[in-house]
Amino acid sequence: MSYFVLALIKTGIVVGIFMHVLAYLQWIERKVIAHVQLRVGPRRVGPHGLLQPLADVIKLVTKEDLIPSHVNKVFYYMAPFVAVLFALISISVIPFGPQITVWGITTNMSLADPSIGILFILGISGMGVYGVALAGWASNNKYSLMGGLRSSAQMISYELPMALAIAAPLLILNTLNLREIGDMQAGYYWGFIPKWTIFQMPFPQVISFILFMIAAFAETNRIPFDLPEAENELVAGFHTEYSSMKFASFFMAEYANMVTVSAVATLLFLGAWHPILPTTFGSAYIPAIIHILAGVVCFYHASQPARPFDRYTLPVFGVIFMGLGSVFALAAAGPDLVSGIGNAALTDAVSALSQILTPLFWFCGKVLAILFVFIWVRATLPRFRYDQLMSFAWTFMFPAALINLFITGLLVALF
């Protein structure tokens, strides 16, 4: 029974945080693109536009839910559900940290820990195409149908190089369990180069990582591969006929897919939750230092406000960052400090804090870095032409992934 209670608690936490992350990714994306293009982005709703996601959600939920008369009703209703369902399932097998023991309970920092985690994610992401394809077909509209068809063709084509790119690090790591994949990458070469797959010594998996990222862009329908919703060709592609919350669910699915592929890239290539420097170099204090520096920067800008409201908003952010920084400092230095006091409850609490927060910081930091690359690329690159997209997948990506897999297999067999 305790397993069920634990699973329910973990599910509640993960779903709650994940939904907020999805809402705020939209805000981050708009802000980052705005700054790349020398604009300021949303800043009307709340301080620095921080309440913009809330306003967007209220707007989307309360808007009129228009249903065109010419659509195929059953599949039209089904498509957004399918898209969101398969986008959200994948997060259940992603481990956010190693196995931990807090308050006498040993548990994984993931909702489920199947022995075939990576295959499960591949399978579910393959199912995700039904949402887009069905939406395009059920809309009963030329442009939507074109979007749906493009999406299915693109997904099928890019799934091959993606799977082959994943296979190369799996050959080295020798397991399909995502938590074990993370554990395998602990340790450092010569005391300072992390043993992440991307720095693997016989054959660094840089090529696999690049191939995986390109395929991930195509799988999540992001620019430069967002052919299914190419605005200049297809109006809005597969979601032309959708409005209100149905329209929003396609965006939710896109962002959820982005988070999932970023998490998979982090787990497979970037050493999961392991810090970039060994703890002997003081890497345990890096989270605290980053947050406290951010707080100091906020206070500095509050003292010299560029805009009138900064005088009031930035100190609040500064205090928040300082608070987070001190929590991370407690997580880093706490276990040694409180063990001297001898209070059992306090020791347990600080040890739980340290065990949960440090891996979580590194994992989320790496995932956010990859998400930033996704947004950065969107602000930078133009869209591919459709024939270029296909020939790129079959004449470059696929052979390159095969050769990469062959060389990796050869080196694994030799060493």
């Binding site: 295959l119 499960f120 399978g123 039904y130 394809a133 099928i156």
Partner: protein, 166 residues
């Protein structure tokens, strides 16, 4: 818990299977087939065959059925017309079906060895490692023959597709 999950997914599989035959529209049939495949994957998972479940999900419901749906959409196939039910089909169809099912269940009952039966999660020794090892040692010849067969099929498809262009 396992029994409840088994009943839920078995019911989904059966309902989707019936729905696939009953539905008039090809897309609805194809999607019902996806439902059958996914429910079967869940059943494999319940029995303990994790790798087979994942392979079922990746290969059948993920890749093959996407191709099916893609082709149906590309050809824009409409709902099929209701075919005329002949009188002998009307009167003898249901009894013949019952006889067929009866014979099938009798044969299955007789042919299967009387073992301890199947338990939930009792299926061990079919992880990716074991499957890979048996594929490349015990079943090497069938495995290679199958790959050559698939290669021939691919070449045949290319040859057939080429002919139309000329």
């Amino acid at each position: 818990m396992d029994a409840i999950l088994f009943l839920v997914f078995a019911a989904i599989a059966v309902i989707c299977g019936i729905n696939m035959v009953v539905q008039k529209h090809p897309i609805a049939s194809a999607l019902s087939l996806v439902g059958v495949m996914a429910a079967l994957a869940a059943l494999y998972l319940l029995l303990g065959g994790e790798f087979i479940a994942a392979a079922q999900l990746v290969v059948y419901s993920g890749a093959i059925m996407v191709l099916f749906v893609f082709v149906i959409m590309l050809l824009n196939a409409g709902a099929e017309k209701k075919s005329i039910i002949r009188p002998w089909g009307k009167y003898f169809g249901a009894p013949l079906l019952l006889v067929f099912f009866g014979i099938m269940s009798f044969v299955v009952q007789r042919m299967t060895p009387a073992s301890d039966g199947v338990t939930f999660g009792g299926f061990r020794g079919a992880g990716p490692r074991e499957i890979g090892q048996s594929l490349f040692t015990v079943y090497l010849l069938p495995f290679e023959v199958t790959s050559i067969l698939i290669l021939i099929a691919i070449l045949g498809a290319i040859v057939l597709a080429r002919k139309e262009i000329d």
